[in-house]
């Protein structure tokens, strides 16, 4: 008997959605001891399926038909009380963001204890013993301290381990993992994926693993189901789906995944656009009683960006890569060092003098949903910059129309508001807004990280084309080695605020020298799979 059986599942969306049904005709099975990866882009309905299985669907979504059977038992017919009993005991779930999935005002020990006190009749010392054993099983260091800690005192990886320990507490038959490593750094992600694999084998669980990342699929899946707009377009064993995809959509998705091999563009010497010399940024917390805490976000960063070339800064969260970008755009003032743009040092320039230089360096941010003012039309956003520098409204609008064409958008859209566009379209608008200033240097701070893989491929292609056409210098900040391999001519790898390795992309990617760079590559999910070629 299979652990989970989903047949012909259909869930209706409330009226006014982009489609009548969140998912329709979805069917798959998970056997004991099997990991099924459910892959899809955002909005494909993958999380809705997980919620339906757990019986946690929001009230606005209703199951319209089909069946969900957990070890043969029909979950759609189960009473709320029965579902409560099954959740945790027979099926459990881990989430994307362990910080919000754990209660911030309860210690981890109390939260783990709750699982046992609700579902079992064990005494407190026994429950505590079980909690400790679980934490040891998810190989967390110092389990006694973890039990007494609150979620904010743990790192992202530790929090996810605690979540996994809680999910496994009652030895469920089915584990649902909803993007469990998306919020984690690549090295932590590799550890968590290994942990899930190891535990799954040990306990013989069925795992429904939801992800958007084909690298992760290649690491962990045994079978794969590809979801598009609420419908399963392809199911099969991992090797089949990844290497010989049948459906056009799967082929397109796999084609869009950038390869880890660096591109083969030749790099010519061209004039220097921007140079930082021993750039440092230290945040210090002043307290009333002398004790000062210092955070050195960036230390001695010396970089060069040349005309027509892309410098990538690669690093995990907290490595200081965004701090460097924000210093260069002068959204913050560096503590020490120089930022030379052409001949001038703008590191410590006062705001007033800086205004004249601002148009030469422009930035595109990560979150396309927050980087456009929701109360201004797209046109207003694009012409704002040029008009600040004295361009007349009509002239700026004419330019905006050209720019919209350059970023492959309809110039008619200038009168619309940001919420009427998708994430990828908004990111194009942000690029147009930056280009309206005719900058020499374009800083892209994780500019494609929030986008779906197919959209990401389009935006990357657009950025490459623009850089070519306008011979822009580009500073590309990313945590994604695959993306970096595709766009960068030079790469700087940052760790703890320092540049640990810096050189031409080919050298860094093909023969990494620093230990940390090698660790990063080793952790990159799906590194043995050659995606772009499919």
């Amino acid at each position: 008997m299979s652990v989970l059986q989903v047949r012909n599942l259909a869930i209706t969306l409330p009226k006014g959605g982009d489609r009548p049904q969140a998912v329709s005709g979805v069917g798959f099975e998970i056997e004991k001891n099997e990991i099924l990866c459910l892959v899809g882009e955002s909005g494909s309905g993958k999380s809705v399926i997980a919620q339906a299985v757990m019986g946690l669907l929001p009230k606005t979504l209703a199951v319209a038909g089909g069946e969900i059977r957990l070890e043969g038992e029909d979950l759609l017919a189960a009473s709320p009380a029965r579902l409560r009993g099954l959740r945790g005991a027979r099926m459990s779930m881990i989430f994307q963001e362990p910080m919000t999935a754990l209660n911030p005002v309860m210690s981890c020990g109390a939260q783990m204890d709750e699982v046992f006190s609700v579902h079992t009749a064990l005494s407190f010392p026994l429950r505590r013993e079980k909690s400790l054993a679980l934490l040891r099983e998810v190989s967390i260091a110092d389990p006694v301290r973890i039990l007494a800690s609150y979620p904010h005192q743990l790192s992202g990886g530790q929090r996810q381990r605690v979540m996994i320990a809680m999910a496994l507490a009652l030895e469920p038959a089915l584990l649902i993992a909803d993007e469990p490593t998306t919020a984690l750094d690549v090295t932590t992600q590799a550890q968590i994926l290994n942990l899930i694999l190891e535990l799954q084998r040990k306990h013989g669980m069925g795992v429904l693993f939801i992800t958007h990342d084909f690298g992760v699929v290649a690491e962990i899946a045994q079978r794969v189901a590809v979801l598009r707009a609420g419908e399963v377009v392809e199911t099969g064993p991992k090797e089949e789906v990844l290497k010989r995809p049948q459906h056009e959509y799967t082929k397109m998705l796999i084609r869009s995944v950038p390869t880890l091999k660096p591109h083969a563009r030749s790099v010519q010497d061209s004039p220097l656009v921007l140079q930082t010399k021993s750039l440092s940024k230290t945040y210090s917390e002043r307290s009333w009683f002398g004790v000062r805490r210092e955070v050195r976000a960036a230390v001695d960063v010396s970089l060069e960006v040349r005309k027509g070339q892309t410098l990538g800064i690669v690093g995990e969260s907290g490595s200081g890569k965004s701090t460097v970008a924000r210093c260069i755009v002068r959204l913050i003032e560096p503590s020490a060092g120089e930022i030379r743009l052409g001949g001038t040092d703008l590191a410590h320039m006062p705001q007033r003098a800086l205004r004249a230089l601002r148009r030469r360096v422009q930035i595109v941010f990560q979150d396309p949903y927050r980087s456009l003012n929701p109360r201004r039309t797209v046109g207003e956003a694009i012409i704002e910059g040029p008009m600040n520098y004295g361009t007349s409204r009509s002239e700026a609008l004419a330019r905006a129309r050209n720019l919209m064409e350059l970023v492959r958008m309809d110039p008619q859209a200038l009168g619309r508001y940001p919420h009427q566009f998708s994430g990828g379209q908004r990111q194009r608008i942000c690029i147009a807004r930056a280009l309206a200033m005719e900058p020499e240097l374009l800083v892209a701070d994780e500019a494609v990280s929030a986008l779906d893989v197919s959209v990401q491929a389009q935006v990357l292609a657009l950025l490459a084309e623009i850089r070519e056409r306008l011979s822009l210098a580009m500073l590309f900040i990313t945590h994604d080695l695959r993306v970096a391999a595709q766009v960068c001519d030079q790469v700087a790898v940052m760790q703890h605020g320092r540049v640990v390795e810096y050189g031409p992309a080919r050298e860094v990617f093909l023969a990494p020298k620093h230990e940390y760079t090698r660790a990063l590559f080793a952790a990159a999910p799906g590194r043995d799979f050659d995606f772009g070629a499919a």
């Binding site: 205004r355 601002r358 930035i363 990560q366 456009l372 003012n373 109360r375 201004r376 704002e384 600040n388």
Partner: protein, 285 residues
Amino acid sequence: MMLGNWSVRIGGAALLLMALVSMAAPWLGTVDPSLFDAASRDLRPGESGEILTLEGETLKHTFRMGSDSFGRDIYSRVLYGTRVSLAVGVGAAALALAFGIVLGLCAGYLRWLDGPLMRVMDGLMAIPAILLAIALVALWRAGIGTVVAAIAITEIPRVTRLVRALVLSIREEPYVEAAVSLGTPTAKIMFGHILPNCIAPLLVQGTYIVAFAILVEAILSFLGVGLPPDIPTWGNIMAEGRVQFVAYPHNVFFPGIFLAVTVLAVNMLGDGLRDTLDPKMAKRV
């Protein structure tokens, strides 16, 4: 979208009715609210009597809400009082919002102004609002402008705090940072980018200030420190009726009803607006 909410519909309709009544007061069978006639003192609601005009003529008049101890028509006074109450409410809210927005934007966006400005606001908030208003009215000449200003001043710190808190979160949004890198001048960022995104909560706060101001005006008038007694306001009417409350409760009852309905309507409007303007609340419904 806003009109889909019943609180907004009912509150807005009641308020609109009040505004129409106050504007159409001269044509709703009223007489000049300052007229009195010694012969028609303490009439019960609905009784007829005579009233002496300024020209010295005597008119037949039905006192729909009775008359007070001077022989003035309470119906006329209550209706004309609506004008004063609404004017004070809207005026005080507008004034408080105007100053609060500017101060809050400055405190939130210009970090060096934050400390000094907010400590002054904390100081103002330490004084009970009603006492502060009484002191301010006592200091200046009694009049509608004085009362509006006194009420607004007590509300400014609250608005400032609200705006500052909003600015502190909005200033971190990438679109504000994008505007900085586009070379947009600071004033334009504050008023062009940040302020429009604060409008929804401010609108809600504005309605609460209107309700509060109407109440405070009535309290001040009732205590005899508000508008001069010859100006008809709900508070004044109730203050004069208070002495005879046991014998003639209508003197207090009718202005009281109007006051309660108006404040309720404004608060309902505010609650409804909060629900429709807050996308998180809207999603839950």
